[in-house]
């Protein structure tokens, strides 16, 4: 079974089934490709300007074969897991020339949400196209109505920022696009860092092609993909056949939004069917298909073997069914900014819940602050779920994100903000034989006028436990102003005067097993 959109093998091409890959060569090839991805990630992190990329590592790098199949990925955050191939698919049919890169962020043409800009660079051996390198980075701002481009209340994509349909990334395009964003110089610097990262990958893949010949490289890449597929199938096979169900809700502006999953395991393949979930959200909780797939792939990795290389092969045994135009397979012009960060968490939870797991905090607790002079975006960790393999860790990112925090001292040096408290929210984890982890308390004071936007989940509904474990505490968003305290909505936005404070208490994880 295949996810629609993945190209089928054609007779005679290098992806057609071959003799079993050599057990030594495949391992050496996988290592070389992983090392190329790691190198790209290192160049990107070290040379970018956005705190999002540098301090928080909100970026990923991947290598693709000439057909646009992902061969290897170094993802720092899981939400990029399955969504990079869509970016390469979006440009694969264009005419490619050595050194000419593409960039895009259109969620409906290879992107996820607008702040994630992906740069794709073809790799050539002589005049033969032998693959692509690609990397994705979350930019601090891509224009749109609010600083940080993460509006809490957007209704259409255009409000969320500049939409970049796939196009060639040259100086002219860079100037044109970044000119519509805040801090255009920083944006250009980050894009240059993204180009530098892809160049590092191109050099490494080129060196592999020199050594193995273009055909040898293509065959090696195909072997790595087949290898990942085989390992994934072997693990799915150990899950009892049957149909597994879960239901949950998203905390929308106007009320709860239902989500439904029927997961079917049949032999060595797994199908996630979201039919019956909500139609499109009038707000920004919509997911492009690629984001929904990413969340499913995350769950598959958790449920199978995280050691399997992240490649197209690992996802071949996974089929995702989502009705066109629904919340989890959105279509233009719907707004999507929260789909990537929040709905994706809920989809991952749904997949894990179907298999009886307790759930973690289930949100990234997105906070954006800014005015005309600055933009600051952060996400907050919380409680992880307990499981049959131990208690849930406290104060960590639990699912689709794993970005680092911005150090308080770095934040205070650079932005008109002051941290008031940053502590573990003791007692917030669910009870159980293996209890859930605790959330975080974060209180920040504005030292000048600014706007804030909050995108959070699990404020109304507590993260459930599993196998008899208790739920974690729900999260809490508070505005402290002139000595009084106001409870804010899960998705909220407004204005802060100097001295006003936002206090965010993140959810605890669900416990596992009877305590």
């Amino acid at each position: 079974m295949r996810t629609p959109g993945h190209p089928e093998s054609e007779p005679g091409d290098d992806r057609a089934p071959r003799a079993a890959p050599d057990p030594v060569e495949v391992q050496i090839m996988a290592g070389a490709l992983a090392s190329a991805c790691e190198e790209m990630g290192a160049v990107l992190i070290r040379s970018s300007h956005s705190a999002n990329i540098k301090e928080r590592h909100d970026c990923s790098a991947a290598v693709f074969d000439a057909h646009g199949e992902m061969v290897m990925q170094a993802e720092h955050i899981p939400v990029h897991l399955g969504s990079m191939p869509a970016s390469v698919r979006a440009v694969i049919d264009r005419e490619h020339r050595p050194g000419v890169s593409w960039f895009l962020n259109d969620p409906y043409a290879g992107g996820t949400h607008l702040p994630d800009i992906t740069v794709v660079t073809p790799v050539f051996a002589g005049d033969r196209l032998i693959g692509f390198t690609a990397n994705r980075a979350h930019h601090a701002d891509v224009g749109g109505r609010v600083p940080g481009s993460m509006p809490a209340d957007s209704r259409t994509l255009d409000e969320e920022g500049v939409v970049i349909a796939p196009r060639v990334l040259d100086e002219e395009a860079m100037a044109e696009v970044t000119g519509k964003m805040r801090q255009p110089e920083q944006r250009r610097a980050d894009l240059r860092a993204q180009l530098a990262a892809n160049r590092a990958g191109v050099t490494r893949i080129g060196a592999l092609a020199d050594r193995l010949g273009p055909d040898g490289l293509a065959a090696g890449m195909a072997d790595v993909i087949a290898y990942a597929e085989q390992r994934t199938r072997a693990r799915i096979e150990t899950i009892p056949d049957g149909t597994y169900r879960a239901e949950d809700v998203l905390e929308g502006h106007a009320g709860d939004i239902p989500l439904v999953l029927e997961a079917t395991v049949a032999g060595d393949a797994i199908r996630f069917d979201f039919t019956g979930s909500s139609g499109p959200d009038t707000g920004n909780l919509n997911c492009p298909r690629a984001v929904t797939e990413s969340a499913c792939y995350f769950a598959v990795r958790v449920l199978t073997d995280p050691d399997i290389p992240a490649s197209a092969g690992a996802y071949r045994p996974v089929e995702v069914i989502v009705p066109e135009g629904s919340l989890l397979n959105a279509s233009p012009p719907h707004a999507v900014v929260a789909g990537n960060v929040e709905t994706s968490s809920r989809v991952a939870d749904l997949c894990l819940a179907a298999f009886g797991r307790a759930l973690g905090q289930g949100t990234m607790n997105n906070l954006t602050l800014g005015n005309d002079d600055f933009t600051y975006y952060e996400t907050l960790g919380g409680g992880q779920a307990g499981g049959d393999d131990g208690p849930g860790p406290s104060a960590v990112h639990v699912a689709m994100s794993n970005t680092l925090n911005t150090p308080i001292e770095a934040m205070e040096i650079e932005f008109p903000l002051r941290a008031v408290e940053y502590s573990v929210r003791r007692g917030s984890g669910g009870e159980g034989a293996n209890p859930g982890g605790d959330g975080i308390v974060r209180e920040i004071e504005a030292t000048t006028e600014m706007e804030y936007a909050l995108l959070t989940e699990r404020r109304r509904h507590r993260p459930p436990g599993g196998e008899g474990g208790g739920p974690g505490l729900a999260g809490l968003n508070l505005l402290r102003k002139d000595g009084s305290e106001t409870r804010l909505e899960p998705k909220d936005a407004g204005r802060l005067e100097a001295g006003d404070r936002l206090r965010i208490e993140t959810p605890g994880g669900g416990g596992y097993g009877h305590g």
Binding site: A42, A193, G381, G392, P393, A395, P407, E414
Partner: protein, 638 residues
């Protein structure tokens, strides 16, 4: 911190009697060099009190050399006391004092989980548990003090410390790299109240740079380990002085030596003392062989350490995770991969051949040691004829070739390949792991490995040297005839060194000549951590033309930064403003010079195996080796 001794600079080689002692996992090696001759002594390591093994090894070497303890002019020591304590999370009962509202910094860390998909995987717990953390009412900002620390609060905190019954105290307040006064006052009050009974570590002294989590975690490690390390070094001092030896210098994580008192008071400085000794050996070899650029790999039984020597100096980093805990201090930049002689080869669920990270260790050891049954890298080398089957190992073990063959054949069967191909594959996969690590330390920094000479160390290093060189496109390899000797010699010959690191956060407009000169002080070498305004990582710029106590012009500093930025990342941003974030001052006094003896006149041509005593060099066809300077073998193609 102690003053640096001026001794050693230009000292006549013949008069120095240098003694180095390196504590390893199994053996403690002592080496004594004097007048062109080198003597070695060995004793079993004594984990419960490493100083016993140290003194035993020294007694052996002094006797062999016929040298009295009082004749020793330079005595240096590398140890694993702090490393082991950290690996086992064993420290003194320690309190943490932090700005109110931020006492959980050490627990939250950077809020990332330990493993992306293993959801229960956890970071090591902080050395200070929540009940030993004290919040203090005070607050500094990046520019000004926002809330003064009152005397009453100092008194209250001191009382709270008294009630906790701790041996040691870590103090880390926000923005103390800029405003150290509050930490100092709290530290002084605790000193005044408890005196010698409590160790105190102040974050601005231990680390001195911004980014509170890394500073707090390092300070916590310093506080928790210093009482332990202090009592070990006291025992060593007493035993050494009873034996008539001079006081030893201690190897720091930076690869430089410090005096015993400074090491005893700041355990965080010596967490990587052991591996830094290996790096010091690499620098010594670089100097003796006149090979400025070396890629080094030290492959032992369970793992392989890799590092880069460029221009005679080992690469350093200002921050690294050790055993899952961050240490924000200058240290040799060594990466470790789980590829060693004992690494177990296995077939994964996708049918691929994998090597490590699981290791057969010393017990049961590789199959050919006679107890284990699972195939290891050593077994593969044996059946490929790269190890002499009759060579006796340490402890009198003889290699059991039949056992190795059975183990490899079993795996080959599972994989559906021939045993020889399987053995060959095990070596290649292990090599690929090490190559990847060597790439991480070189290519990612913009260095081309092909222009380096490979230095192969450790019990298994020389076996894999040519295979790794082939992969990296390197044509020149150095192999020490006795790696253990070099580790101990490297210690004794290392520079004395003291680092002070401080975050200053100066905008480009504030950088003038006088300010820079003031920051450089009388340092021998200054690293300037600079970034474009808005970037959140810095590049460390050094001015190759700056001598002791001189600082570059601001314009030159900018140019050096942009050159480096371009070299590392392929672009510079001439329109962007820069800022000076941190200044790293290093004061050094060179170690003693000595004569490591003449080159041997041996030569070997592949295919051959060369017995090096502690290791075996494998020379495939197309490679040859000859005796080189200072007891080294030079291995080249041809």
């Amino acid at each position: 911190m102690g003053e640096l001794p001026e001794a050693g600079r230009g000292e006549p080689e013949g008069e120095a009697v240098i003694l180095g002692v390196d504590v390893g996992g199994t053996f403690t090696d002592a080496v004594l060099a004097t007048g062109g001759r080198i003597f070695t002594g060995k004793a079993p390591s004594t984990p419960s009190d490493q100083s016993e093994g140290v003194i035993a090894a020294i007694e052996t070497v002094l006797e062999r050399a016929g040298v009295g303890p009082e004749e020793v002019t330079h005595f240096a020591h590398g140890m694993t006391v702090a490393t082991n304590a950290l690996l086992e999370s064993k420290g003194a009962r320690t309190a943490l004092i932090a700005t109110r509202g931020f006492t959980d910094l050490v627990e939250i860390g950077r809020q990332s989980r330990a493993s992306l998909y293993r959801l229960r995987a956890a970071h090591p717990p902080p050395l200070v548990p929540p009940e030993l953390r004290i919040g203090v009412a005070e607050r500094c900002g990046p520019d000004v003090v926002l809330e003064e620390l009152s005397e009453a609060e100092v008194e209250r905190v001191t009382e709270e410390v008294a009630a906790l019954d701790v041996e040691s105290v870590a103090i880390c307040l926000l923005h103390s790299y800029r405003h150290p006064d509050h930490e100092r006052r709290l530290g002084a009050a605790i000193d005044a109240r408890f005196g010698e009974a409590h160790h105190v570590s102040l974050s601005h002294e231990v680390v001195g740079t911004f980014r509170e989590y890394e500073r707090a975690a390092t300070t916590e490690i310093d506080a928790a380990l210093s009482p332990l390390l202090g009592s070990y070094l006291d025992r060593l001092r007493v035993r050494g002085s009873e034996a008539g030896l001079p006081e030893p210098m201690i190897m720091q994580s930076s690869g430089g030596l410090t005096d015993l008192d400074n090491a005893a008071g700041h355990a965080a400085l010596t967490v990587l003392s052991g591996p830094a000794g290996g790096a010091a050996a690499a620098m010594l070899i670089s100097r003796l062989a006149e090979e400025p650029d070396l890629l080094c790999f030290d492959m032992g039984g369970t793992s392989c350490d890799v590092c880069v020597v460029e221009d005679g100096a080992v690469h350093e980093t200002g921050s690294k995770r050790i055993a899952g805990r961050p240490l924000a201090l200058p240290m040799v930049d060594i990466d470790t991969v789980g590829a060693g002689g004992g690494s177990i080869a296995w077939r994964d669920s996708g049918g691929a051949l994998r090597v490590g990270p699981e290791s057969a260790g010393a017990d049961p050891g590789p199959a050919c040691y006679g107890r284990g049954t699972r195939p290891t890298v050593t077994d593969a080398n044996l059946i490929l004829g790269r190890l002499e089957p009759d060579a006796p190992l340490a402890g009198g073990i003889r290699l059991d070739g039949e056992r190795a063959r059975r183990a490899i054949a079993g795996l080959a069967d599972e994989l559906g390949i021939e045993p020889d191909a399987c053995a060959e594959g095990i070596v290649r996969v292990a090599n690929a792991e090490m190559v990847r690590a060597l790439r991480v330390v070189s290519v990612q920094r913009g260095l081309d490995p092909r222009r380096f000479t490979l230095l192969a160390f450790g019990g298994a290093g020389p076996l894999h040297a040519t295979g790794i060189a082939d992969e990296l496109g390197i044509g020149r390899i150095l192999v020490p005839r006795s790696g253990g000797v070099f580790s101990a010699l490297g210690l004794a010959a290392a520079n004395r060194r003291r680092d002070t690191v401080r975050s200053v956060m100066l905008a480009e407009a504030d950088l003038d000549r006088a300010t820079l000169a003031d920051l450089a002080g009388d340092a021998d070498e200054v690293g300037w951590d600079i970034r474009y305004r808005g970037q959140s990582f810095e590049l460390t710029v050094t001015d190759p033309e700056a001598g002791r106590g001189t600082a570059p012009e601001p314009e030159r500093l900018r140019r050096l930064f942009e050159d480096l930025h371009r070299e590392r990342y392929g672009y510079a941003d001439p329109g962007a403003e820069i800022e000076l974030v941190t200044v790293r001052c290093r004061r050094t006094a060179p170690g003693p010079g000595f004569d490591a003896g003449p080159a041997s006149d041996e030569s070997h041509r592949g295919p051959a195996t060369v017995d090096l005593g502690e290791a075996t060099l494998h020379l495939p066809p197309g490679w040859s080796a000859r005796g080189y300077r200072a007891g080294l073998l030079l291995v080249e193609r041809g």
